[in-house]
Structure formats: C-alpha cells, structure tokens
Amino acid sequence: MQSDASLELRTDRIREMITQGNRFDSRKLDEYRKIEIIKNISENAEGSARVKLGKTDVVAGVKLIVGTPYPDNPDEGTISIGAEFLPIASPFFEAGPPKIGETELARVVDRGIRESKCIDFKKLCITENEKVWIAFVDIYTINDDGNLFDASSIAALSALLEAKVPKIEDDKIVKGEYTGKLHLARKPLLCTTYKIGGKLVSDPTFVEAQGMDARFSVATTEDNYLTAFQKGGSGSFSPKEIDECIDLSFRHGKAIRNLL
C-alpha cells in the first residue's frame, strides 16, 4: 500500500517535475507504462481479459444474453457497457450504487466502441422482432494506479475480441457450446492525454493524475477514424493542445493495437 498521507505534498513535487519535463519513474511525458494483456481470465464469461498498465489493473468480461430488440431496430442486437470501481482497488472507492465516475468511464468506453461501428448489430439478431443478443461488457478495477480510462478501453476491447457467441438450440442456449467468435470489424482504442503542470502527459500514475487540470480522451481506429472525444476535469485545452492530444492518441492507439 502506498501512504496517502503525504499525497498532497508529493502531488506538488510531481507537478513541478512534470513542468520541467521529468517523471518520477523516468518515463518520457508521452510514454506509457508496460502493458500486459491476459486473456480468458473467466471461463464463465463469453470473453474476458485482464489488463495491467504498470500497477494499474482492470478486468473486463463479456456475457451474451438473449433479449428483446428495440422496436425501432427489430433486427439488431445491442451492446451495454458498465464499469465498477471495486473497493479492492483503492482506499477511495466504496461499494454502492454506480457513481458518476463509473458512469462517465463506462459511457466513454462505450461510445468509442459503439460509434466505430466495429460490431455489426444485425449479426446479433437471432429472430427478427423477437430475440437478439445483448452483449454486456462489465469492467472492474483491481488496482487503481491511474489512467483507468485507457486500461478499461483496452480490457473491454480485448474481452470483446475473445468473445464467443453461444449456440442456440430449440430457443435455448446450449451451455458451453458456441457458434463462433463475435466478429469485430475495427479495433477502436481510447487514449487519454492529461494536462498536468501545463504539460501534456500520457498514462499518468495515480499520484500524477492527482495533479491534473484536465484530461482529453480520444478513441481512434486502425483506419484513421476518430470515434469518440471526452474532455474531463475543470481545466481547459487550447485548440492547439487538442490537436496534440489527438496525434498522441493515434500514435499510442496504433502501438497498443499491436499488442492485442
């Protein structure tokens, strides 16, 4: 456990260091920590993954459930992404109903994936007007050492890439049997840039992130699409800084995509 008592002091020092272009762990400002992706961490999930970003640790799992289509889209399945900041991951997380931080993270990761149109929802139709697949992706934090957004995006995408579609016979799921993988047409990844001490910083640790003014998340695809933006925090970005953030997201997205 890290001592949180001296947190504020450390935050000031780290901010100063960053202003001078230095980081506590010797990384460059635009450098990510080591990324580790472990697949299929839960046999009960249709697909699952655990992602470590340095000491940050999250898991994501996919369950495919038979549901009813929306009347507007009678031949389309759907996806639903949730996130829970498990209290095992940080002294600041509490059990209880979803908090706004969890809702924001889930919705931003969701948009990045959904809007990339990487999933053909028509392929998730079982019987038009009646039965479709709903893909529930749930993200849980294991250890919060900063940059949960990016770790969650990688975990969600990895879990979806692993996900298998259950076999249906006589209108019922045949447990343990699958008709194949869920096909993804694109691999959208969210990369977030933080503004700390006037500088743009990638993949901050928890302590670094404490000193942030603002953050900007950008989801990109391998075919050079932007699929989601989200600015957070009480600070601001200049138009030029936004452009730099977008460049960073394209660059890091490409690098991370190679690890999947």
């Binding site: 706004i100 889930a106 699409y225 932007l226 989200q230 009480s234 601001s236 936004i242």
Partner: protein, 252 residues
C-alpha cells in the same frame, strides 16, 4: 434511423433541411432573471429547445464533510422533463443526464472565480422543457447566463454550440432530423470565448482528422455567435433593472 431518412438530401445547394446555411445557427432567444426565487436565472429558446436554468448560491456546502476550504463546488444538474422528448422519458435521472451534468459542471468551473467562495456550493439547475437536438450546449449557455445574472464573478461567459458532420458535410448546430441521419456525428463544444480555451468537448461518430479540423474552426466561430447573444441578453437585462431602479427612486 428510419429507412426513409436515408434518402433525404441533407445538404442541397448549400442549404440544409430547414433552410439554414452550413454555418447558420437556429434562432436563439434569451430571457434573463425569469425565476423570482433563484439567485440567477435564464430562459433560453434555441430552435425548438426550451430551457430553464437557475443558480442558487454560493451557499454553504452541506453536509459539511463535502466542503472544500479552498474553493466553491459547482453542482450542475441537467434534467429533461418527461414530455420534452418524442418518447416519454422516465422521471428518474438517467446515465446520460448524469454524464452531461458532470462535463457541463466542469466546463463552468474554469470560468468561475471559485477560490472566492471557500466551503460553499454553487448549484446550477438546467431543466429541458422541450428538445430538438443540442440541449446540452443550449443548457450550458443558459446556465452561464444565469450565473452572470446571479452576480457570480467569472473570467468569461461560457459559450457553447454543437457542430457536426452530416452526409459528409461539416455543419453547425445540428437539429434532430440531422442528428438522426445514419452517418451523423455530433460534437458539443464549449469555450471561454475571449481566450478560445476549450472547456467542454465531446464527440461520437466516425470522423476523419480533416473533418475534425474544419469542425473545430466552425465550432469556435459558432460559440462566438452564441456569446454575442448571451452578452446582448445580459446587457438588456441590466439596463432594464437599472431603469426599474430609477422608476422606484423617482417614485419616492
């Protein structure tokens, strides 16, 4: 996502489905000081969108343990009336409303001199009575005017607008018909107009980098147009209040 809509020509000879130009705002109407009991308030119509915003505070933050001894907290509540959308909205606040509240509140924080009011909360309430795309930016523009009406010291008024892509074309201030187009991309953006600092920026859709560059430019210009309307409304309200004051004095 109706089949028929796919056949609509969204932009034809530089005109959009409602006759607007590519970079033209819908009509905007701003009334200041409409809610007697609030510290500041604003009624804003933006196309079909109809919005009430009110500010209460700075007032003591309660319960005490949420107080910040260095600055005021901004509490932003964006809510839609059940009847403000084509399909009735559930009366319970949804995840979308919560997220909009969060990013809108953060957008205002940069504008307000929060450090002037330690241990307090500034409560901003935005109620959507009727909607037709773009309510989050309209709500933020209204909230910003209500803050000024409440006399809360600000670096600048937050101006906001939606910009987006439709049928391959970058356009300002999408309406619902446009937003429902199959390939539509919506980009809400809010800035402090004097410095062009971006305080709110979201997006979802499939966008190319050059489209984004065009959109950003158009969005900043759009915000500045909204800014002028906000300032005009505030000036008008100020002059009226002054006139009223004089009438009262003369009556003595």
């Amino acid at each position: 996502m109706n089949v028929k809509e796919k056949e609509i020509e969204y932009v034809k000879n530089g005109k959009r489905v409602d006759g607007r130009k590519i970079d033209e705002l819908r009509p905007i109407k701003i009334d200041v000081g409409v809610i007697d009991r609030a510290d500041g308030s604003c009624y804003l119509e933006w196309g079909q969108n109809k919005i009430m915003a009110a500010v209460y505070g700075p007032r003591e933050a309660l319960p005490k343990h949420i107080q910040n001894p260095y600055r005021a907290l901004v509490n932003y509540h964006y809510r839609m009336a059940t009847f403000s959308v084509p399909d009735r909205k559930s009366p319970k606040p949804g995840r979308r409303e919560m997220e909009i509240s969060k990013v809108s509140g953060e957008a205002l924080e940069k504008a307000i001199f929060l450090e002037k009011y330690p241990n307090t909360t500034i409560d901003v309430f935005v109620e959507i009575l009727d909607s037709n795309a773009g309510t989050r930016v309209a709500g933020l523009a209204a909230a910003s005017v209500a803050l000024a009406d409440a006399g809360i010291p600000m670096k600048d008024i937050v101006a906001a607008v939606g910009v987006g892509k439709i049928a391959g074309e970058v356009v300002l201030d999408l309406n619902k018909t446009e937003e429902d187009a199959p390939d539509a991309v919506d980009i809400p953006i809010a800035i402090l107009p004097r410095t062009e600092e971006i305080v709110l920026l979201q997006m979802d859709g499939l966008l190319k980098l050059d489209e984004w560059k065009k959109a950003l430019k158009m969005g900043i210009e759009g915000c500045k147009k909204v800014y002028e309307l906000q300032k005009t409304a505030l000036r008008k309200a100020y002059l009226e209040a002054e006139k009223e004051e004089k009438v009262k004095e003369n009556a003595k």
